[in-house]
């Protein structure tokens, strides 16, 4: 009798980390009294898959030349990045509650001058893909094999520079650029469709010369598989369009425009944490 042994990757650690990161995010933003919980929660699974499965990094050596890089182009979801960095060991988890406070090394938007593990400062939308391209070009010139991951927002792709950079990624055949689109469908003044329609996103990137995958952005297995798939393709940049839910994990935040940039008060935070801990 023949036996087929199917090796299934154990993503349970990633899922655990994602759960913890969501708790961190609520605690961070509540302590700060301001910040961006909605988008931080929608990007958490992508961030967890990157930091706890895919990225070749060393928390003891944040400037390691051969490391994979992450450009958080949608820089306002810094709480998610900081949660990942803290849980990975770049700095103490205790420091997360200093987010946005005076003299904190955890600034409102990622600051490479202050936070270990932040590869580049971001905050003004639309700029990250250009930066990622530069990092990938340097990698090629220096004969390095690192990957550059970029996380974009759906509202963010309304910025023209994203498309300038998308052209460049394809023109320069930057197959070590792997982008994620955190496609939660909402922005500040409403849904993408209400404010400024971005659809069809997949066709847009395809027509710009990119390999495109569309997945469930909360399925860690799918995220991991998509990255592996992307790495097989030479000569073209890759984007993984992740269908996500803004505010994912907290019932009263899910799919609500209002939770883009508002911090939960003490009562709301307590309720959110209760839900997140029960996952």
């Amino acid at each position: 009798m023949q036996c087929k042994v199917l090796l299934v990757k154990d993503m349970s650690n990633v899922k655990e980390m994602a759960k913890q990161m969501r708790i961190d995010i609520i605690e961070e933003v509540a302590a700060a009294g301001s910040g961006h919980p909605g988008g931080s929660l929608s990007v958490t699974d992508i961030m967890a898959a990157l930091y706890f499965d895919k990225m070749n990094i060393d928390p003891k050596n944040p400037k390691w030349e051969d490391r994979d890089r992450l450009v958080l182009s949608k820089g306002h979801v810094a709480p998610a990045l900081y949660a990942a960095l803290a849980e990975k060991g770049y700095f103490d988890r205790e420091d997360l509650k200093t987010l946005r406070k005076n003299d904190s090394f955890l600034q409102g938007h990622p600051d490479m001058k202050k936070t270990p593990g932040v590869d580049v400062s971001t905050g003004s939308l639309g700029q990250g893909l250009s930066i990622a391209n530069g990092m990938a070009l340097a990698g090629r010139m220096n004969c390095k094999n690192y990957y550059v991951y970029v996380i974009l927002g759906d509202g963010e792709i309304q910025e023209g520079q994203v498309w300038e950079a998308a052209m460049s990624s394809a023109h320069y055949k930057l197959d070590h650029v792997i982008a994620f689109l955190d496609f939660n469908g909402l922005q500040i003044d409403g849904t993408n469709e209400e404010v400024m329609n971005v659809n069809p996103v997949d066709e847009k990137f395809r027509s710009f010369g990119w390999n495109v995958q569309v997945i469930d952005g909360h399925d860690c297995d799918a995220i991991s598989a998509a990255v592996d798939e992307a790495k097989k393709k030479a000569g073209k940049p890759n984007i993984i369009i992740c269908k996500t839910v803004k505010g994912k994990g907290v019932s009263f935040m899910e799919n609500e425009v209002g939770w883009h940039g508002t911090a939960p008060n003490a009562e709301q935070a307590a309720k959110a944490l209760e839900e997140l801990r029960a996952i």
């Binding site: 030349e65 890089r69 450009v71 600051d111 490479m112 001058k113 590869d119 580049v120 400062s121 905050g123 003004s124 639309g126 700029q127 990250g128 893909l129 250009s130 930066i131 990622a132 391209n133 530069g134 990092m135 990938a136 070009l137 340097a138 990698g139 010139m141 220096n142 023209g160 520079q161 300038e164 950079a165 052209m167 460049s168 023109h171 320069y172």
Partner: protein, 310 residues
Amino acid sequence: MNTATREAYGNTLVELIDKNKDVVVLDADLAHATKTLKFSQKCPERFFNMGIAEADMIGTAAGLATCGKIPFASTFAVFATGRAFDQVRNTVCYPNLNVKIVGSHAGITVGPDGGSHEAIEDIAIMRSLPDMSVIVPSDDVEARAAVLAAAEIKGPMYLRMARVASPTYHKEDYVFEFGKGELVKDGKDVTIIATGIMVPKALEAARALAEDGIEAQVVNIHTIKPLDEKMVVECAKKTGRVITVEEATVYGGLGSAVCEVLSDKYPVPVRRIGVQDKFGKSGDPDKLLEEYGLTSKKIMETAQKMLRGE
């Protein structure tokens, strides 16, 4: 000799191919004009044309800089500093990245292209950014020296190059000192602080004034930021009268920088010669300089008026 600073820039980049292996060059479809073309031909693997996409160019340069490269990102001054301002601010200066932004075709001497292409505000807006240095070379010898220095000095830098040729007045053995003013000619009656292509005109004016019995001091400020405040104050103390001259708006550039320092440390009358808050226009560069009052004659008249107490 007597070539445009943009020519010297292009030639010096070629020198840097071997002198500094980390130097890379980016352009936005203007390599023929900005003179990065020679570098692109000799060293294509370190040259990146980003197309007509200045914001993308600056962001890409920043990404390269995070990985140890020394990018020189070139386009016309008006686009480098205007169109890509947010990128320069947020992606180069705020993270303090080692990117050299080279704005060519600065000022009204761009000529026939007209006002849309004539940057007059570039010095002012670059100066306003923390951690940004601003260098305006005054001849080809100085441009070469400045570009070589820029490759060695860490941090964001804006270098301003001219389209038109101007007379060379530095000797080949000139030593460029970043952040230091250059006393080109000493005098006791009035100080003329100039930058860029206006320095040779200041020297012309000083020669004419000498015939009139007026001893003018001429100072070349190539580093607008960080400004050599000590020297500016010393000159003001010596002559008590200062004239600033720049091929740029009188709001926010060299003249303003000098006024800021002197009003704080040693207030004396300062007359600012520059573009008087007007956009540029099409025309022959020399005729435009005449029309906009950027001439040695204007400098001379200003000095004479100051000495008459007007």
